[in-house]
Structure formats: C-alpha cells, structure tokens
C-alpha cells in the first residue's frame, strides 16, 4: 500500500513548518521509531519517526521548503516496488510518531 507522509500536528501556534533535514534518500526502508525527517517551527524542531516498516518512495518537499500542517511531505510504501498511483495527493495519510523538541 502507498501512503502519504504529512506534516504532523497539531503543533501549538504553528500553521507552517520549514523542512530542516531528511534522514534518508528515496528507496530507504525505515524501521518503526526511526527518524524520517526533521521539521522546523518558529522555535522548535519536530522530529517525525516511522511508526511501521515502510519504504521512502518520493520526497515532495526539499530541505528549506515550507509546508502547512497536514500537507504532504513524501510518499511511502509497504513494499519497495509497489507502483505509485497518479492521484498521489488522494492517498491515505501515513501514521507517524512525532516529538517536538
């Protein structure tokens, strides 16, 4: 199955974040709890971690880009070679753990 990784929330006061750092390139498989991406708010870092075994398939926001809470950041899949559908924007949101530091 293909999932959409979205900017998690709610984060108090925050409507928009800046992508600080991706921890892996397209094709990398993540174990549950592994750090996927760090997002920057006006005063904190949001660490987004995988909640299940999954493969990073496409990065939609580069480091330095801005994205709203709830909007898409990347695509993941259960299997490394599942085809990505054209309507990727309609995909199910991937469950993630996130921590604000």
């Amino acid at each position: 199955m293909i999932y959409q990784l979205q900017v998690p929330g709610p984060v108090p006061d925050v409507e928009e974040v800046r992508i600080l750092e991706w921890h892996g390139e397209v094709g990398r498989a993540f174990e549950p709890g592994e750090l996927v991406v760090e997002l920057e708010t006006h005063k904190a870092i949001v660490e987004v971690r995988a909640s299940k075994i999954s493969v990073l398939r496409d990065i939609l926001c580069a480091e330095g880009d801005w994205q709203k809470i709830g909007a898409a950041l990347a695509l993941f899949s259960d299997e490394p070679d599942e085809p990505i559908p054209d309507d990727a924007e309609q995909l199910t949101a991937m469950l993630v753990d996130f921590e604000i530091t």
């Binding site: 006061d13 925050v14 409507e15 006006h42 005063k43």
Partner: protein, 333 residues
Amino acid sequence: MTLSDETAAATKIFFREAIIRALQEEMQADPKLTLLGQDIGAFGGSYREFDGLFDAFGAERVRDMPVAEAAMVGIGVGAAAAGMRTLVSITYMDFLMLALDPLVNYAAKLRFKTAGQLRAPVVVKTTAGAKGQGVAHSQCIEAWLMAVPGLKVVAPSTPADAYGLLKTALREEGPVVYIDHKRLFPTAGHVPVKAACIPFGQALHVRSGSDVTLVSFSYMMTPTLQAAERLNAQGVSCDVIDLRSLAPLDMATICTSVKKTGVMVTVEEGQLTCGVGSEISFRLREMLDGVKIARIGAVAAPVSSNRVLEAASLPDADKIVTCVLTLLNGKGG
C-alpha cells in the same frame, strides 16, 4: 510583480529570523552596536530572536543582564549617550513600565535639554500583546509612548517590516521603541534578499477598497485582514492600511484613503481611552470634514490569562465586521 520575480527577490523566513538578520547586518556594519537584555546571550532570547548572535559577536556585544529593567534601559541609554549604540531587549512590554524613567525622563529629553550636545541612539525592543499570559504579561502600551516628545515608536506586522524597521531603528540618532507581538513570532513571510531599510513614518497600503478604510498595526493586522476578506464577501470593499510607524504617524496615507471612502475604522489591541485610534481619529477630523469614524480596541478591563476572558477582552474579526457594518448602516460614527 510576478510570482517568480517575487521568489527571486525575496526569501521566506520566520519572523524571528527577520529580527536576527537585521541585528546581524547592523552589528557587522557598526562595531559600536551592543545588545543588552535578559536571556539574549547563549540562550538566544525568549523567542529565539537573538539566536546565533552570541556566538557570532561574543559576550561583550551580546550582554545578558540581571532582571533589572530600569538598569537595562538606563545603562543602554547612558552607553548610547556616551558614544555607543545599544539595543535593549525588554521581554514583555508590561515590564517597560519599570524602565520608563531612563527612557522617558532621560533618553527622550537628552538631545533637547543639552541643545544637541548629547543624543541617545538606543533601541528598546519589546514584545506586546495577549497570548494567555495574564494581566501583567499582555498589555499594549504603545499609546503612552506616542505621547512622549523625543521618542519614536514602530510596530511591524510582517517579517519584512520587522527587518526593515529594525534596521532603520538601529541607524536613528535618538531613542526608538520597537514593538513585536507574541502572536507574530510563529509567522513567516517573504523578506527582500537585498538589504534595505524601511523609513519611519510611512504606512503601508495593504489592500485596496472603496467603502471603508481600516487602519491597524502589529498583530491586529491579522484579524483586520480577515475581516476585510469577509466584508468583501458581503459586498463591503475595504481599504486597509498598516501603520507600521506610530510615532511619527503617517496621516497623509490615511487621509488619502479616507477622502476616497469617507469612513474610517481603527483597530488596536490596546485600550481605547487616549489610544492610537483616538489620536488618529482626532487628527483626521482636523484634516477632513464629514467622515464616519469608529474605534476598536480592548475593552476597559485587565487582560486575563483565562482563555474565555482574554478573547472577550480583545478585538477579533467578528467584532471588526460587526463594527464596520453598524457604522455603514448609520447606527454608529
């Protein structure tokens, strides 16, 4: 300007980063510029609006101070009068009350009383406004300061204006109070890539309309622009002005707009009595006849940390919409 031009000419940053950039550029340009305040050193400021400056410029130019507002401002003023240039950070505008003596009695009078022998190029940077912190951490007292001859007062609503106004403040020859707002810190916006100052005394015309002029500043620009959008959907076209600079006031821009609309509503977060809106309204009456005017501000009550009471005391988009419609329907003004 097309979107690609805008992207090329400006970069999107957080509000606090606009402040850091202005400070960094001005500290590089002027080795005498020194920052004083509580928690501004390695900690980087309560809103991280001093991040990185301590590492870049060291403990002598980014000085942490004890909790002693009168001494923070007094020392900043004295050092400025003696040839340095200083920025003093007062975390909450409410606490500026503790430091009004050196600011009002000394700095604002210094150039006049010494017949120009001494000047105090000091910027007092502070943060106003309500955000759940209660009666002594929420106030907007900019109108008090506007009444002091010799003081300049500015209050940006966007990162671009924060950057440009702070740079100008740091080049002034006399005291300036530069006011942020707590609710502006989570915001981000485009700031020109090329270094540039924004002159004081120039309001910004941010939305064009023909039925009513809305005048606001600082965080109140947010509900004001929301209200303008909603009024537009109801067929009321709003001309919106962001003051940016409170002393000096740009009455010319307001006057031009109200000549067109014939109706003005001012929106501020501080008290209405002797407030920014009162001052603008009366000055406008001296310039134009037959204008409909209304003022919106906090109710005459302390601002509680209680969420319900805080909201009840402050202006919001609903209240602005209601006020404008009432005024246009002839029941106010």
